[in-house]
């Protein structure tokens, strides 16, 4: 029931995308089928990351505020590992399922040549993307060391990022493109890999050889997030219980 609900709640976004394309035809040289590929890839990535990182998402509310983090720290395993395994939410399967469905639709609408390199690229992009979203949630959790609460502001990065990365990068203003490439490297796990899968040259001029390397940025982001996390754990003082 919840899975179905999740599926419906996230499917409506693609309805909006579809309506815009059917009204306007195309945008920035992209058709609906190609845009659907961005949409599918980002949502598959985010649903996987979301399923695996619930412990970090509720870290402020459920661990720092209640003092439950003390118990986590006492166990002889890495705190981050314990949090990642805190709770796996199957209701998030809804987003995953609809992502896969949209991927199938996109593959029918545009001729995607799903050869070995394309499949490998898709999996590699999803891996990098999961690392990136994981990094964002770790950063959100790290903020809780200072604020004691989980703040909604992090949704700007996670859900807002999903929202932004569902569309091809070249439709945005320059400053926003830079933010999505160098600040929060969502473009590196969605836009550039999709170009590589479609075997299209970048309309913005990134060289072709660079495209397969871009998902590495997700792992770099995750590494930096864990550095911040360690600084946070070092200054952690329990709230008691």
């Amino acid at each position: 029931m919840l899975i179905l609900g999740q599926c419906a709640a996230t499917s409506i976004e693609i309805l909006g995308v579809y309506a815009l394309f059917s009204r306007f035809g195309s945008v920035g040289g992209w058709s609906f089928g190609e845009a659907a590929l961005f949409y599918a890839l980002v949502n598959i990535t985010f649903s996987l990351a979301d399923m695996l990182t619930r412990g970090f998402e509720v870290f402020g509310t459920d661990f720092v505020r209640t003092g439950a983090f003390d118990r986590v720290l006492l166990r002889p395993r890495a705190a981050a590992l314990q949090l990642a395994g805190h709770e796996v939410r199957l209701s998030r399967l809804g987003r995953l399922i609809q992502g896969v469905v949209v991927l199938a639709i996109a593959s029918r609408l545009v001729p995607i040549d799903w050869d070995g390199p394309a499949i490998a690229m898709a999996i590699w992009a999803v891996t990098g993307g999961v690392a990136l979203f994981f990094g964002m949630l770790v950063l959100q959790a790290t903020m809780a060391f200072w604020t004691v609460e989980s703040l909604e502001i992090a949704n700007v990065l996670t859900y807002g990022g999903v929202q932004a990365a569902q569309y091809p990068l070249n439709i945005y203003a320059t400053w926003f493109r830079r933010l999505l490439t160098f600040g929060v490297p969502l473009a590196c796990v969605a836009y550039y890999p999709v170009l590589a899968i479609l075997k299209r040259p970048d309309p913005l001029g990134a060289p072709d050889w660079l495209l397969p390397f871009t998902p590495l940025a997700g792992f770099a982001f995750l590494a930096l997030s864990f550095l911040a996390w360690r600084a946070g754990v070092a200054r952690y003082a329990s709230t008691g219980s």
Partner: protein, 276 residues
């Protein structure tokens, strides 16, 4: 030390104060999210308009105003049942409501209205400040939230806003009754949210959807929550069309309140108390 007896009071005051501060930070964080969200939606609109503006049913300036209005009044949209009702049902607190010498529907309706408005109005004011005043001041005039199209539009928007709030509360009341009957709000919310997002016009103004759907999209009850009042605001609906829109809003509000009262009376008769 003469200060000593005061210490617990000071501590209690500080704790309470900091809690309030925490809520304020949370509200500001929510507002920042809404601002950011609106920005992304506007950029997407701008990109589509850039290529084929002629294909659009409303101007880009109006579409931008539509987005900001929607972000400002987000908390008025009935996409989750009132959490207090679910709580009252599970704890048995609902029993007190049955004992009150009041009309139970009216009592809950008023509480739901209060809950919605208290969340919506502060954020709406902040959004006027940010998108209506600051954006033009920093030179982003074309991205700004514009004032109503005319004095007539502004005057017509007042009843449209009142009816939109009343209608949204009536929808929520139906959801609340289902929550009370099923003892669980997650199922209701998971169906309510997507319905409201699409059919109210908050995902996209309704006339962006394919032409074949238009007639029923504009007649269904949820259009009165977002689409009708907002189009009255920028005078896309004017004169007779505006009057028709207001009549639709009022009609659906009356119908949904009627259904809600019946459903609630039935539910209250069958209610089994949870122990407390």
């Amino acid at each position: 030390m003469t200060m000593l007896p005061l210490r617990p009071y000071l501590a209690a005051f500080r704790a309470r104060f900091q809690l309030l501060l925490e809520y304020r930070v949370a509200a500001l964080a929510g507002f920042a999210t809404q601002l950011w969200w609106g920005g992304i939606r506007i950029m997407v609109f701008a990109a589509f308009y850039g290529a084929h503006a002629a294909a659009a049913p409303i101007s880009l300036a109006d579409a931008i105003t539509y987005v900001w209005l929607g972000q400002a009044l987000l908390a008025l949209q009935p996409w989750v049942a009132d959490p207090e009702i679910g709580h009252a049902i599970r704890t048995g607190g609902i029993g007190y409501d049955r004992l009150r010498p009041l009309d139970a529907y009216g009592f809950w309706y008023a509480r739901t209205l209060g809950w919605m408005l208290a969340r919506a109005l502060p954020r709406a004011l902040l959004m006027v400040l940010a998108a209506g005043i600051i954006l033009p001041l920093v030179g982003l005039d074309e991205w700004a939230w514009r004032p109503p199209a005319s004095v007539t539009a502004a005057l017509l928007f007042i009843p449209a806003f009142v009816l939109m709030t009343a209608l949204a509360a009536a929808v929520l009341m139906l959801a609340n009754v289902v929550v009370a009957a099923s003892l669980n709000e997650r199922g209701v919310n998971s169906i309510l949210t997507p319905l409201v997002i699409v059919l109210s016009g908050s995902l996209l103004p309704l006339n962006f959807y394919p032409d074949a759907w238009q007639s029923w999209l504009h007649l269904q009850p949820l259009a009165g929550i977002v689409d009708i009042p907002f189009r009255i605001y920028f005078a896309d609906l004017a004169g007779g069309a505006a009057a028709q829109g207001l009549a639709l809003q009022a009609g659906w509000t009356a119908v949904l309140i009627g259904i809600g009262r019946l459903a609630m009376a039935r539910m209250m008769r069958r209610l089994e108390m949870q122990g407390g």
